[in-house]
């Protein structure tokens, strides 16, 4: 965790204790947050991962002082979100995916300058800061272009520049790559990382349901569902919770004796042909479940003895979606009925962007314990390219 130099003396960047939020709704009130506890250290890149309706947006609105909690206590760098919203607003900023803020008639440069005035920058300071940031986010060519003519990716870069105008100490990113193509999403992620790395102590809270994005960016992640935090940890810690065996994918030039040969090797718990193997290819793809990683050496040696050559070897890691499925018993694609209604209204991101409906059962009948991981690996690739 990249804690600030002064992190020893600074209070938590985010300190949330027993926060509840209930919306008045008919026929009955909707519990969006059902007692959330969360501490984020200064300098941390923290992710809230969960499906639509999980309560992510509600929590971020409370932390950005836009919404009052129904109960509990929430603080940003020690400032109470209820009583000291003014001080929090001076040191934070927020950017949401699909944001259409501002005025289309203005140019990029003018729009950013307008916002710089809202954040209290002096007029000249605002112009120079805008010019620096326009260059930094890669919008130099569009600086005099009207906002209404920007592409989605360019617009989001501009939104990011807006979010950085006041050099916030804490940046709230609510689905910042929503609806962006691969290149645009990547540039946004790199931009955030560059910005955060420039000054120790800068903190980012990211909400997303792109698991690969959370995995790539976050120091720690909280998995949220139905208004509760189900687990908190580093991505590796979370994945280890569901990894009970070592799974490897082997590609061999041939396999004499079939799977039975592999199944008899020491340390091999089970073996199966990979479901996605290309029948036309001159190779055999096999998924192996081992008791632990150390058993791999024996398998490789034994395969050499049979005359098979290993063409490719890859360890199959569990994904954050596996963690989610383990924790809540359903995939990200299975939408929760929940109060985070806004998420579904913000840009038409359907199940295809959610990662493909979860891993359950795709190859489960083929080989218990392997199919899920193998399928998830494919889903993860799909998620990686979606944003």
């Amino acid at each position: 965790m990249s804690t600030a130099l002064q992190g020893d003396t600074l209070p938590s960047a985010i300190d949330v204790r027993a926060v509840r939020r209930v919306y008045d709704a008919k026929p009955e009130p909707v519990v969006a947050l059902a007692g959330v506890d969360l501490q984020v250290a200064p300098g941390e890149f923290f992710g809230l991962l969960g499906p639509n309706g999980a309560g992510k947006t509600t929590l971020i609105k409370i932390l950005t002082t836009l919404l009052l909690p129904t109960g509990g206590d929430a603080r940003i760098f020690g400032f109470d979100v209820v009583e000291e919203s003014g001080r929090i607003r001076r040191i934070m900023n927020m950017v949401a995916g699909g944001e259409q803020s501002g005025y289309g008639i203005l140019t990029v440069r003018e729009q950013l300058w307008m916002f710089s005035q809202f954040y209290g920058l002096r007029a000249r300071e605002g112009w120079s800061r805008v010019d620096e940031l326009v260059d930094a986010v890669g919008l130099a060519e569009q600086r005099l272009q009207r906002v209404s003519t920007l592409s989605t990716g360019q617009r989001q870069k501009m939104n990011m520049a807006r979010g950085l105008l006041n050099d916030p100490w804490i940046l709230f990113l609510d689905e910042p790559t929503l609806g962006l193509d691969v290149a645009a999403a990547r540039s946004i992620r790199e931009l955030v990382l560059d910005w955060k790395a420039a000054v120790a102590g800068r903190t980012v809270l990211l909400t997303t349901h792109y698991m690969a994005e959370a995995d790539e960016l976050c120091d720690r992640i909280a998995i949220v569902d139905r208004g509760r935090i189900l687990a908190i940890g580093t991505p590796d810690e979370l994945k280890r919770r569901v990894q009970r065996e070592s799974i490897f994918r082997l590609e061999l030039d041939h396999l004499d004796g079939g799977l039975a040969v592999l199944g008899r090797l020491p340390g091999v718990e089970s073996a199966a042909f990979a479901a996605d193997a290309d029948p036309e290819a001159q190779r055999v793809a096999v998924n192996l479940a081992l008791t632990d990683d150390a058993a791999l050496g024996g398998v490789v040696t034994a395969l050499g003895g049979t005359g098979s050559h290993i063409l490719a070897l890859r360890k199959s890691e569990p994904t954050l979606e596996d963690v989610f499925v383990e924790l809540v018993g359903r995939g990200f694609g299975d939408e929760a009925e929940g109060p985070d209604r806004g998420s579904t209204d913000r840009g038409g991101h359907g199940g295809d962007e959610d990662g493909g409906g979860g891993p359950s059962g795709a190859t489960g009948g083929e080989l218990a314990g392997l199919g899920g991981h193998d399928t998830v690996a494919e889903d993860r690739d799909a998620v990686g390219s979606a944003p």
């Binding site: 949401a96 005035q117 930094a136």
Partner: protein, 303 residues
């Protein structure tokens, strides 16, 4: 450690830290900084209105030619009826001042609701400024826009229809004009808050009030002719009292303006309206912020 911390060279553009290296220090603004920040926010919000005016020349057609045609229609009717020449002056002045009223109704009253739909309002709430700065910025920007239109209609109509003005108290004209605008835009700020509360229905309300207000304010005739109704308008509608005061001052000595208070009294009424509307809008905007935060329904675009 974040993925980027160890492998990326620091971009100097991102290395700046306003207000020092401690967030607790950076968030501690002096009262002077707070005031300066709100003045900047006001200028910032006025900016798109002024820029927009220069950027979209179509406003010359919609904002000058069409109002001029409307004014011309009444002038022609009065001339056809053989009305006194003073009435042409009344119509021309009404046509010019209508620019401010229309601006208040269309670009002030409904503006916060529109800002909410665009997603701007939540950014305004989350910014370190008072929302009154935004309202004042909208008012100042709108005032600049409308002044141009009003001046253009006034000058063109005056030349085309040969209107002659009789001004005896220039100082009072300026004071009354300024008070009229401050009362009008004070009303606009209050309506902006109210319309945000009312939501979509507010637009119907806008349509509903425009013509009746024109009528009871005496847009094209001296409001004193309406008797008790005119008196009520003088007491409640800044457009009515401002227009009547301006007519008394720029067409001094005309016998057709009767039944209304003196310009001095009307100036006091306008001053009182300014104070009342400004205080009401301030109270409303605070109330709205409280409601927005507790309900989550006023500032946030999709709720």
């Amino acid at each position: 450690m974040s993925a980027g911390d160890s492998i990326r060279p620091a971009n100097p553009v991102f290395a700046s830290t306003r207000g020092g290296t401690d967030p607790r220090v950076a968030s501690a603004w002096t009262p002077r900084e707070v005031v300066a920040s709100n003045v900047r926010a006001l200028i910032g919000r006025a900016y798109p209105r002024v820029r927009g005016m220069a950027r979209e020349p179509s406003w010359l057609f919609f904002e000058i030619l069409l109002p001029f045609l409307t004014t011309s229609a009444f002038v022609l009717v009065y001339r056809a009826l053989g009305a006194p020449d003073a009435y042409v002056g009344f119509v021309v002045l009404g046509g010019a001042m209508a620019a401010f009223w229309l601006n208040v109704v269309w670009m002030m009253a409904g503006q916060l609701y529109w800002e909410k739909s665009q997603g701007n309002l939540e950014l305004y709430f989350a910014a370190p400024m008072n929302l009154m700065s935004v309202l004042l910025g909208m008012a100042v920007g709108g005032l600049i826009m409308s002044s141009t239109r009003a001046a253009a209609v006034l000058v063109i109509s005056t030349i085309v229809f040969g209107v002659t003005f009789q001004v005896e108290q220039w100082g009072l004209v300026i004071v009354v004009f300024a008070l009229t605008l401050s009362a009008l835009y004070g009303l606009g700020m209050m309506l902006a808050s109210l319309f945000l509360l009312w939501g979509r229905e507010a637009f119907h309300m806008t349509n509903l009030v425009i013509e009746p207000v024109y009528f009871v304010s005496g847009l094209n005739f001296p409001v004193g002719r309406l008797g008790a109704l005119g008196a009520l308008a003088i007491a409640t509608i800044p457009f009515a009292v401002g227009l009547d005061a301006m007519r008394q001052l720029v067409f001094a000595g005309q016998p057709y303006i009767t039944g209304t208070p003196s310009p001095e009294v009307e100036a006091l009424i306008l001053a009182a309206m300014t104070v009342v509307f400004s205080l009401l809008s301030r109270w409303l905007i605070r109330r709205i912020e409280r409601m927005a935060r507790s309900r989550g329904s006023l500032s946030i675009r999709w709720q």
